[in-house]
């Protein structure tokens, strides 16, 4: 299988990354605007500020690669190609949502794009990602799994249990820690005796690297390299800790009130790329995204709510 992005020249790559981040930012900002109208009767955890990690990583994947993520999942879902209409309808609790209105924002899924379900319980998808990777290995399938999780998730026992197993079995997977330094309102330093997540991963015997820049291009390059190492040379698993920043509150539409004091060394991923992209391209993207988003909202709005009998559907397979 050929990685669609391997031969991209850098302008195309930058344009794609810009477009994807712009699109996700615009969609999430719109969700934040809609939220007070109470049409989205479900908690939303926004990734605004953090998009570079999922966008950069997914740009290096093929459609049949698999990603697992968390309740903070809009960005991952969209970056991997998840259907926007189905996502908006899911947020609106409509029958046309990706989970038929049963999952909401925290449980997005689009298996046709390799987006496996997001979970609201911290760290629960980390071992599932390893299980999926184990299946790839047994079937000798040339795909990888990427597990996305936060800095808080690395405190859970299951994180360590999974890293050990993944390293032991040399699984075709990449662990991506989106380190925004916070678990709700607790800073990493209140929860961890040192900030060396990357080192902790490396002692299990896997290549581990920290990526500081919150830069989609740098993340793309690393993941692209890692994917090749794994698929071509069987050198999985590989671990990345991506430093990033969330601009909104842990949950809900509001900006963090401590945002003005935010660490200066973290760059805004959209601003970084915006400098590298032509005015005309940006204009085109802006129009395209507006159109797509309006259509998706309209679709969500006009879709019907689930019928009563669906309450009892899908309890068992």
């Amino acid at each position: 299988m050929k990685n669609k992005n391997i031969n991209l020249n850098s302008i195309e790559l930058i344009n794609n990354l810009y477009k994807s981040i712009y699109r996700i930012r615009t969609i999430e900002e719109k969700i934040a605007l809609i939220y007070p109208t109470d049409q989205i009767k479900s908690p939303v955890h926004l990734s605004i500020g953090q998009e570079a990690v999922t966008v950069g990583a997914c740009a290096a994947l093929v459609e049949t690669d698999i990603v697992f993520g968390t309740y903070r999942g809009h960005s991952l879902y969209l970056a991997k190609g998840g259907d926007l209409k189905g996502m908006m309808a899911e947020l609106y609790g409509k029958s046309t949502g990706v989970a038929g209105g049963k999952g909401g924002s925290m449980h997005l899924i689009d298996t046709s794009r390799g987006v496996m379900g997001m979970s609201a319980v911290v760290a629960t998808t980390i071992p599932q990602a390893a299980g999926y990777a184990y299946a790839f290995k047994l079937r000798k399938q040339k795909n990888i799994v990427v597990s996305f999780f936060g800095d808080g998730a690395t405190e859970e026992g299951v994180f360590h249990e999974t890293l050990n197993f993944a390293a032991l079995k040399k699984l075709p997977m990449i662990f991506v820690c989106e380190n925004n330094q916070y678990a709700v309102l607790s800073h990493q330093s209140e929860r961890q005796s040192s900030s060396n997540i990357t080192e902790r991963a490396s002692v299990y015997g896997m290549h581990s690297e920290k990526i500081d820049q919150n830069d989609a291009q740098a993340i793309y390059e690393k993941i692209n390299w890692a994917r090749n190492q794994i698929v071509e040379k069987g050198e999985g698993p590989i671990f990345f800790e991506c430093m990033t920043e969330r601009y909104r509150e842990h949950v809900g539409p509001n900006e963090r009130d401590d945002i003005k004091t935010r660490s200066a060394e973290i760059n805004d991923p959209l601003e970084q790329l915006s400098k590298l992209v032509s005015y005309d391209f940006k204009e085109g993207v802006s129009k395209e995204v507006d159109l797509e988003l309006n259509e998706a909202i309209d679709f969500a709005d006009k879709s019907s709510f689930p019928s009563n009998d669906t309450l009892y559907q899908d309890v068992y397979a």
């Binding site: 908690p43 049963k102 999952g103 859970e156 607790s186």
Partner: protein, 354 residues
């Protein structure tokens, strides 16, 4: 020192828990609180607010995300004579701690032949509001009722919340203390002093002669509303809050059933193998009345909690369906009686973001 004890004071359920914790910590320095986010500005819906500034971060411990370890740390400290109160913002997160809770804490006293005690309290909150879905709104009290060695208490009024927490912390066993998010803002009379609401004693919240309605946790609020609708149809319902689920006060329930001959149990949870099944079995085994007692139970529909509001409304038993079931049970057949609509402001007016 006993403080002035105004009995006419009305405070919220969340404040009652906060006050009980503060007073217990002031009185006994072995009491401490631990959990994820317990010292953050939101203070677990206000239930732990300001405790860390008063007692310091060594006694109000913000924990890493490590539920099983948190539970083991609490039980280990209790073996050393501490009285920990573990707090989980959602009851669902207790599922990550089942090993320490059930294999270890619940069994230690017995399997070591009484050599150690594990006086710990695990507070957890049932997360229903809206859209919380599959993993943030589960009510798992029945799981814990199944385990010998654990006590389970689920108070519904601010008065009982305070008193039950005091009894729980002073108890020498692991206690599962069940709260419901939609109860936290309820106000009620709460004495200022420390007092205990004992285990194994139910409370009759409303007396009546036609039907006994037992309601658990937030379902109790809907049962009281249903009783009002029934009263409008000249049916008097006796509403009983078990408060303590393990041990449970079967006597109070049976005495009421002797009188009414009709029993409706409404759980804030699923019915199969649940608290409602247990209560009904106990009534069958213990009731003295020779003639037939009509019985029914209600709970969450037996599906995973959906997020869409329209499905959520079907999933949870509401006062209308409770009243209707009570009415039809008494009549012995399905009727087309429609109860007065009772509002559920805590549900209807809820707005996010969480």
């Amino acid at each position: 020192m006993p403080k002035s004890n105004r009995r006419d004071r009305s405070i919220t359920y969340a404040s009652a828990i906060n006050e009980a914790t503060r007073q217990l910590m002031a009185q006994d320095d072995s009491v401490f609180v631990l959990g994820i986010g317990v010292d953050d500005p939101r203070g677990i819906y206000g239930t732990t607010s300001n405790l860390s500034s008063e007692f310091g971060q060594d006694r109000v411990v913000n924990m890493p995300l490590a539920e099983d370890a948190i539970t083991g740390i609490a039980s280990g400290s209790s073996m050393a004579g501490m009285r920990p109160i573990v707090v989980h913002e959602r009851m669902d997160f207790m599922l990550l701690a089942m090993n320490q809770l059930i294999n270890v804490a619940a069994k230690s006293h017995y399997m070591y032949g009484g050599a150690v005690k594990v006086p710990m309290v695990v507070r957890s909150i049932i997360g229903r509001s809206w859209g919380q879905g599959a993993q943030h709104s589960q009510a798992l009290h029945s799981f814990f009722m199944h385990i010998p060695g654990l006590k389970v208490i689920a108070p519904t009024t601010p008065h009982d919340a305070k008193g039950a927490l005091v009894a729980s912390v002073r108890d020498d066993n692991p206690v599962i203390f069940v709260e419901h998010r939609m109860l936290h803002n309820y106000k009620g009379q709460v004495p200022e002093n420390l007092y205990e609401v004992p285990f194994g004693k139910a409370r009759v919240l409303r007396t009546g002669g036609d039907i006994t309605i037992v309601g658990i946790s937030h379902a109790m609020v809907e049962c009281i509303r249903a009783a009002k609708s029934l009263a409008a149809a000249s049916i008097s319902a006796e509403v009983i809050d078990p408060i303590s689920l393990s041990p449970i006060d079967v006597q109070t329930i049976c005495e009421s059933v002797e009188k009414t001959g009709n029993l409706l149990i409404v759980d804030n949870g699923w019915t199969p193998c649940g608290a409602s099944a247990e209560i009904m079995s106990l009534v069958i085994e213990n009731v003295q009345r020779q003639d037939k007692v009509k019985m029914k139970r209600m709970g969450f529909e037996f599906v995973t909690s959906p997020t869409s509001k329209i499905l959520e409304d079907l999933y949870y038993p509401d006062s209308r369906r409770i009243a209707k079931n009570a009415y039809d049970l008494i009549m012995g057949k399905k009727t087309d009686w429609e109860p007065d609509v009772q509002e559920s402001p805590e549900i209807d007016e809820f707005k996010g973001p969480f």
